[in-house]
Amino acid sequence: MLTNKHIETTTEPIRLANEVFFAEIKRFLEEGKDVIFAVSGNSMAPFVKHGERVLLKSMDSVSFRTGRIVLAKTDKGVVLHRIVAVDDAVVCLTGDGNLGQYEWAERKDVWGVVLTNVERKLDMQAPHRVLRAWIWYRIRPLRRLMAKCTAN
């Protein structure tokens, strides 16, 4: 029996270990539900910034396409990043905000695809937005240079 145990409730944004939180998202997606969750970190900035909520749905065959933002278990952990290359077996992902890092995931480990940035009411699959993200990705050398200049 427990003694002196207070009841605690909180409505703070949850601070669960990422691993269990992502497992929970995966479980709901598998149940066929769309999931809204708040993104943590700026690796997808400027398209999805820290704290912004995104709406995710489970993967289908048409979602395996470059330019889509997906939640996947990769060689570097679970990430919400953009597909930059795809073949029959694996996808290659990268964060819009990152300057050089890539992650790899098997197709079966890609759990869901982002439909909207709920915060800014943006359709993340709209062709013009995907095109902008692609340009943003292609000018990485320039962004690297700028990052260097700002650092100095």
């Binding site: 427990l2 002196n4 605690e8 669960l16 769309d34």
Partner: protein
């Protein structure tokens, strides 16, 4: 009072969260976390009408806790339930 029927309590790791799944969507940016005691109490309150007095009684049957402390905790919990819209009638 009564807790909303559609709310789901889930244990993730050592935490308990309450989520409100809609027809085909669940918002995980809007979840409520409970500790073990509160989660236990939440279970007991499923599908029945209750009052703060009943909650205190339930707590004291399960845990060794003074009436004063139990009442205080229950009052706080009920306040959170109401504020967050977790009850369907009160």
């Amino acid at each position: 009072m009564r807790v909303k029927r559609e709310l789901v309590l889930r244990q993730i790791g050592n935490d308990y969260i309450i989520v409100e799944p809609e027809q085909d969507q669940v918002d995980l940016s809007k979840v409520y976390t409970l500790n073990e005691t509160a989660a236990w109490l939440w279970h007991q309150l499923q599908g029945r009408d209750f009052t703060p007095e009943i909650m205190v009684k339930l707590l004291r049957e399960e845990y060794e806790v003074s009436a004063e402390l139990a009442s205080r905790d229950v009052a706080r919990l009920v306040e959170v339930f109401i504020k967050q819209g977790l009850l369907e009638s009160y």
